[in-house]
């Protein structure tokens, strides 16, 4: 059974993600590592599977939800290393 909260969460996730992509394309946060975008894609994907799980109870969806989350965590972890630190000493 899908919960309304999960759908709201997914929608919020997608809207923020798209907004974030738009800002990135406009060059407003160029310092962010690109791999974080993939991390966000993965989190959104994970959310999609959470919602899908509520509609159709398939074991693979649950698996994918956690797998996507794992990928997201991996991307964020790698991105944290690749994020440019400022060369300017304050």
């Amino acid at each position: 059974m899908v919960e309304p909260g999960e759908i709201v969460c997914l929608l919020a996730n997608v809207i923020l993600f798209l907004f974030f992509i738009r800002l990135y394309k406009e060059g407003k946060c160029q310092q962010m590592p690109k791999i974080w975008i993939w991390g966000l894609v993965m989190i959104t994907g994970s959310n999609i599977f959470t919602v899908a799980e509520g509609f159709v109870l398939v074991a693979v969806f649950n698996m994918l939800e956690h797998l996507f989350l794992l990928c997201a965590s991996l991307f964020f972890f790698v991105g944290a290393f690749h994020m440019k630190t400022s060369g300017i000493v304050k």
Partner: protein, 464 residues
């Protein structure tokens, strides 16, 4: 699932720690780091809690996820944006600081910035970054206006510069141009710069640099060159002078030595002895005259002349000179005339008689020496404010180009002249120095082959 969630937990937590570690000392505000850390940690913990069968948590799991996952994405965005803003602020601060330092340095150096505009084919001096003492006539120099902006002597240089820019030659720019000032007059500007490739939308080659006022340096340079030329000329003149002088000293000394040796001969008659002693005495006078000349010119050069003023009757002085040199002129077959043009009886000056006498005497001696035939005229005239003493001759004259140089110390127009005519060649220099010390002016007019007129103008008011 447990394994997957555990790994996710570790990685999210790791990412949070890495962020904190890397940016803790940087310019990210601390609350952004803390929020990011908390959110990443929470996502991590929510994964862990998901697989713990914990009844209480089940009730909260979804609402928490609903709340925190969008917040997590938003915090990532906010973190990046804030980081970007801080970076840009720091860069702007750095640029402003560099710009300020550059401006201060340019103000201190009195420099200006210039750039070649490859589209309009013109040199543009940046008005906002122009710290020269004076503004140039125009801040733009191109092929149409360079004749108005630059002095004609810089036209070639600026044309070469234009060609260099047009051909996109990457040779460093180092050109001195004489540029017109806005307030009038010219000043030397040194254009230094370089040409390099840049990635710009409308053009790829840019030439730029600074310019500085080097007028002072140029005037010093000109002075140095002038002094060098003068020193070299003096060196040559002194060599020539020494060459002449050695002859002038050697001749009487030879006479003195020669006749002294002859006098040792006991068989010489009394008459012959007297004759030789007279010759020795004449040689001594000649020698002392040369030494006197040198001493006199040295005093004039050092400015150590002592002038004793008293009222001098110039008419009498001229007449005395005429009488003294009349016989010498006649001996040379010359006609020596005295011309007193002024009817005024009172031709007096408050001056140093001996120095005035010496000055005129030198000129008369020169006139007689350099005149083969014709006449020498010694004259005196009076204008409203001054007395004019002049000596005219019909001698060899002086070429127009050499007229200014005849009064130079040690100046010999031709070394061979002196050998032909004798003398140290200091006579004119001494006369000029003495007359100037007496407050007068020496004028010379001459035509080669026709004769010379030397006149002394002495102010009556200044002297009396």
């Amino acid at each position: 699932m447990i394994i997957l969630n555990t790994i996710s937990f570790i990685l999210f937590l790791g990412a949070a720690l890495v962020l904190v570690y890397r940016f803790w000392w940087k310019n990210i505000p601390i609350h952004f780091i803390i929020i990011s850390f908390l959110l990443l940690s929470f996502v991590a913990f929510s994964n862990v809690l998901e697989w713990i069968d914990f009844a209480v948590w089940d009730e909260f799991e979804n609402p928490v996820e609903i709340l925190f996952l969008p917040l997590f994405i938003f915090s990532v965005y906010a973190f990046c944006l804030q980081y970007e803003v801080n970076e840009n602020l720091l860069k702007e601060e750095l640029i402003r600081d560099n710009s300020r330092r550059l401006s201060v340095a340019m103000i201190a150096a009195g420099e200006a910035y210039w750039e070649w505009d490859s589209k309009k084919k013109q040199i543009i001096i940046d008005k906002d970054n122009c710290y020269l003492s004076f503004d140039p006539e125009s801040f733009v120099i191109n092929r149409d206006n360079y004749r108005e902006v630059l002095h004609s002597c810089s036209e070639d240089a600026v044309n070469i510069l234009f060609r260099q820019f047009e051909l996109e030659d990457k040779t460093d720019v180092n050109v001195e141009l004489l540029v017109k000032k806005r307030i009038g007059g010219y000043y030397w500007l040194l254009f230094k710069g370089k040409t390099e490739e840049v990635k710009k939308r409308d053009y790829s080659i840019i030439s730029y640099g600074t310019l500085i006022d080097i007028s002072q340096y140029k005037s010093i340079q000109e002075e140095v060159i002038k002094s060098k030329v003068e020193a070299e000329r003096s060196e040559k003149l002194k060599s020539a002078f020494l060459y002449n002088l050695s002859h002038e000293i050697r001749t009487p000394i030879n006479g003195i030595i020669g006749f002294s040796q002859i006098l040792q001969d006991e068989d010489l008659s009394g008459q012959m002895q007297k004759e030789y002693i007279k010759l020795i005495t004449n040689s001594c006078f000649k020698l002392i005259a040369v030494v006197d000349d040198i001493v006199e010119i040295s005093k004039i050069e050092v400015g150590d002349l002592s002038v004793i003023h008293r009222i001098v009757d110039v008419r009498q002085l001229i007449e005395r000179l005429y009488l003294n040199y009349d016989s010498l002129a006649n001996e040379r077959g010359l006609e020596f005339k005295l011309k007193i043009l002024s009817q005024d009886e009172d031709l007096k000056l408050f001056t140093d008689e001996s120095k005035l006498y010496r000055s005129i005497e030198n000129i008369i001696q020169n006139a007689i020496k350099f005149t083969k035939q014709g006449s020498v005229i010694l004259g005196l005239d009076k204008s409203d404010e001054s007395l004019i003493i002049f000596v005219e001759d019909t001698g060899i004259g002086i070429a127009k180009d050499d007229l200014e140089a005849v009064f130079d110390n040690f100046r010999q127009l031709e070394v061979s002249f002196n050998r032909r005519y004798g003398g140290s060649g200091l006579g004119l220099s001494i006369s000029k120095g003495l007359i100037e010390a007496l407050g007068g002016v020496v004028k010379i007019e001459s035509e080669e082959g026709k004769g010379t007129r030397v006149s002394f103008v002495l102010s009556i008011d200044g002297n009396m």
